[in-house]
Each structure stands twice: as structure tokens, then as C-alpha cells.
């Protein structure tokens, strides 16, 4: 499957990433913060699944670094976790694209669980363990509900700008 990409429309990818980052820092009431879905994680997985040659480990690393700066987390924390989950995704993108949306959602959920486990681990090493584990693993459960919608919206958006082949 050749990727017939209109190179001058690649700005769509950073645009969606930046929108996801905005959703990641938008202020929420304190009780809602653990329920914040991992938007950037899902968008990065989407693009690396759809366009594994364009969006790969490098893009994931840069967007992770930007997210680190935005969130004030240690530089490299999100970058490392994105690199790892995107590596897995781009290895499996063919299998992923041929499965149903629900199976995809399960897989994305698993990937995000890996990501948040890594963050949990890094936080633990720097002495930032939270009192309960929920804030670490709830964001990873959201794809079960959100992924199909996100997938369809992003895919149609990508098709409209012709960076995803029909």
C-alpha cells in the first residue's frame, strides 16, 4: 500500500498534535484531573498507525518533549514513553489497520497502559509516587470509549486534506 501523501498538507499532523496538547493542559476541576484522557498519546498512536513512514519514533520523541515542557514534567519523560509505544505501533500497523475498531481500541488501551506504567515508574524513581494508582491507569482506559470516535474524526480529517489515502 503506497502512501500517496500530499507533502504540502503534512501540517495537518502537527495541527492535530497541538490541539491534543491544548486538551492536555486545559484547566479542569481538581476532582476531574485524574479523568483527563491521554489525548496526545492517542493522536500520536493514530498517526503512527496510519502513516508509519511519516510519523515515527522521531516525531513521537519531539511531541513527547514538547508535552514535557508544557506540563513541566522532567524533560524526556513523555518523550521516552511515546518513543516506546510508537515503536510498537509502527511494527504492528498492518495488523492494526485490518482489525475492527473495538480491537484497535483495546490495543491502544494496552499501549497507553504501558506508557502510564512507565511514567509511574519514572515518578517512583524520583519520589513522586501518588497515594493511589488510579490517576495513573484511568487515562489508559479511556480509549475503550473514545478511540472509535477519535479514529473516525482524525481519519476523515486526514482524508479531507489528502494525507491519508482513501
Amino acid at each position: 500500500m503506497p502512501e500517496s501523501i500530499r507533502l504540502n498538507n503534512v501540517w495537518v499532523i502537527p495541527l492535530t498534535l497541538i490541539l491534543a496538547m491544548m486538551l492536555a493542559i486545559i484547566p479542569l476541576p481538581v476532582w476531574l484531573t485524574p479523568l483527563r484522557p491521554d489525548w496526545v498519546g492517542m493522536v500520536v498512536i493514530f498517526w503512527s498507525m496510519m502513516l508509519p513512514r511519516t510519523v515515527s519514533v522521531g516525531t513521537a520523541w519531539v511531541s513527547g518533549l514538547l508535552l514535557d515542557v508544557l506540563l513541566g514534567s522532567p524533560l524526556g519523560q513523555n518523550a521516552l514513553t511515546f518513543v516506546i509505544i510508537v515503536y510498537i505501533t509502527s511494527h504492528m500497523h498492518r495488523q492494526l489497520l485490518s482489525t475492527t475498531l473495538l480491537q484497535q481500541a483495546l490495543f491502544v488501551s494496552l499501549l497507553l497502559m504501558i506508557r502510564h506504567f512507565l511514567i509511574f515508574w519514572i515518578n517512583g524513581m524520583s519520589g513522586h509516587l501518588p497515594e493511589s494508582l488510579w490517576p495513573h491507569f484511568l487515562p489508559a482506559l479511556f480509549p475503550l470509549v473514545l478511540w472509535p470516535w477519535l479514529f473516525i474524526i482524525l481519519r476523515d480529517f486526514g482524508r479531507k486534506h489528502r494525507i491519508i489515502p482513501k
Partner: protein
């Protein structure tokens, strides 16, 4: 069909390179100045994003202000005027005390007094890493904010600046587990260190001996020993004291005096030396002698700046 793993060698290589880079960044950032600059450059690039995100909240606030009813405004105005009057009265007393204190300091020839300049800053309405106690504020290098600068609010010490870019900066709160602040019990001058616990309503006091004289309700103020925070600003109130038998140290918790998760407006403090001669040992001496005015000192340092932001 092409083989699935056709591109994998370079991909794996890149995975390794980027992972190693990330781990290096994480482990070196705190020591390396170049990385701090990298972060501040990147955060400058990303400031528009943060600004846009905080815009709706700011717009809502100004709308709220614009639509506030007249009676409400009159009410608020009266309340503020009353508060102003009370503070003014306290300030009169303070001027007297300050003069007296100066005289005593001169007698002791210690002259260790700090003049404080204060700037009101606002927190940007964005959420940061939920596992770290950080806040983002709207003043940066262009307002002379510097690394390690103390940040306070109207009721106590909030934290210190850990990252500065040109128009914004990040402050680490005293409730972060990686933050510690030297404090002193007002009642008896007992010195200790308060460390964050990762939640805004609780800090813990380290190295208090099992028989140490500390009680629930004791006020903790900054001792100024590290030279980073101004002396005698409120840090917290002791809320729990446990003395487990058989342990060398008591377990003591305190509630931060500052509204770490509530304050919207915060104050940045600059410390300027009034006198250059400063024998360090005299500071500790004078600290214990005048134990009745630290609170007033705190009030004074909050009073010196330009009018409160709510008055505008």
C-alpha cells in the same frame, strides 16, 4: 507484498537512540544549565499554546467582573476599604517596631536586614503534570524573575521559581516531594525542615526528636537559613504530631499556610540587602531575640507593594 519488517533495523536503531537521549535528558536536567536553557527556549516557543488555553478562563473572569452588579461592587469596595483601614493601622505600629528593631540591630551591629521588592503575578489557567506540584505564572525574565526566586501569596510561602522563560515561569510548590524548606517554630525557635508530600494540604517536618517541643497548632515560619527564602514568612500550621515509641524522630505534619491550590494571584519577592556588612552568625542570634514580630514582618512585606490587584 513487501516484508513486514523491512524498515525495522533503522526503526530499532532510532528507538534505541531516542530512548537513550530521553533517559540522558531525564537524569541530567537538574544539574545541567544548558538543558535548562533548552527547556526555557522550548517553553518560549510553546507560550502561545499555553496562553490560548488560559484565554477562555481569563475571558470568563473579565466578563464576570464586567457584569458584576453595582451593589456587589459597592459591597466589595466597602469590605476592601475596611481591610485597608485595618492594615493601615497595623502598619503604623509596624513602622514604630521597625525603627526600634533597626536601632536594636545597630546596637548588636548585625545590620542583617533585607529590603523586599514585590511584584504581583497571576497564575496561568493551565494544568500541569498531575504528579508534580508545579504552577505556571505570567511573569518571566522580562520582569526580572530569576531562578530560585521565592513565591508567596497573601498568607504564606508558596514555593520557588524553577524555570524562567521570557514571559512566563514555572514555580515548584513547597508541597512537592522534591522540595524542602528550612523552617522554625515561632513559639520556641525550634528549627527543622519541611518537605512536601505531593498533596497541597500537607507537608511533613523532618528530624524532630521524639521528645522535641512541638504541638498541634504551632506556627511555622521560614528560618531563612538556606538564604533562599525571606526570613519569618509563615509556612504552615502543625496539624498532627505522632511520637511512635521506639523511634528516634517524631512524625509531624503541617498544613501549608499559603493556599497552594486556591491562590490565583501570587507575589514574587526580590530580596535586596540594605547593608553590606553581614556577619552570618548574628542573624541566628537576632532571630531568636525578636520572636514577637515575625508575623508583623510578614504583613509588612506584603504591604509594601503596589495596591492589591483586586482594587484595580
Amino acid at each position: 507484498m513487501k516484508p513486514i519488517f523491512q524498515q525495522s533495523p533503522t526503526l530499532t536503531l532510532r528507538l534505541i537512540v531516542f530512548s537513550v537521549l530521553s533517559v540522558m535528558l531525564m537524569s541530567m536536567e537538574t544539574q545541567n544549565r544548558a538543558l535548562l536553557t533548552l527547556r526555557s527556549v522550548m517553553s518560549e516557543m510553546l507560550y502561545p499554546v499555553q496562553f490560548v488555553v488560559s484565554l477562555p478562563v481569563a475571558a470568563f473572569d473579565s466578563l464576570h467582573e464586567a457584569l458584576a452588579s453595582r451593589t456587589h461592587l459597592i459591597e466589595e469596595n466597602r469590605r476592601l476599604r475596611d481591610a485597608q483601614l485595618i492594615y493601615q493601622a497595623r502598619l503604623q505600629k509596624l513602622a514604630l517596631l521597625e525603627a526600634e528593631n533597626d536601632r536594636l540591630h545597630k546596637l548588636l551591629s548585625s545590620a542583617q536586614r533585607l529590603e523586599q521588592r514585590v511584584l504581583v503575578a497571576e497564575m496561568l489557567a493551565v494544568d500541569l503534570d498531575p504528579f508534580r506540584q508545579n504552577i505556571l505564572i505570567n511573569k518571566g525574565r522580562s520582569d526580572d524573575v530569576y531562578l530560585g526566586q521565592p513565591v508567596i501569596d497573601a498568607s504564606g510561602i508558596m514555593g520557588q521559581i524553577t524555570q524562567v522563560s521570557s514571559h512566563s515561569s514555572t514555580a515548584l510548590l513547597i508541597s512537592d516531594p522534591s522540595h524542602s524548606i528550612p523552617v522554625r517554630v515561632v513559639r520556641n525557635g525550634l528549627r527543622t525542615i519541611a518537605t512536601g508530600m505531593g498533596r497541597p494540604d500537607r507537608i511533613k517536618l523532618n528530624y524532630i526528636p521524639g521528645n522535641g517541643d512541638i504541638e498541634v497548632g504551632d506556627l511555622l515560619v521560614s528560618s531563612g537559613l538556606g538564604g533562599r527564602f525571606p526570613v519569618d514568612l509563615p509556612v504552615g500550621l502543625v496539624t498532627e504530631v505522632h511520637r511512635p515509641p521506639g523511634k528516634a524522630f517524631a512524625t509531624v505534619y503541617a498544613e501549608p499556610a499559603a493556599g497552594l491550590d486556591r491562590s490565583h494571584e501570587i507575589l514574587l519577592v526580590w530580596q535586596e540587602e540594605r547593608d553590606s556588612s553581614k556577619p552570618a552568625y548574628n542573624e541566628t542570634l537576632s532571630e531568636t531575640t525578636d520572636s514577637h514580630w515575625p508575623l508583623l514582618g510578614a504583613v509588612a512585606s506584603l504591604m509594601t507593594p503596589s495596591p492589591l490587584p483586586t482594587l484595580r
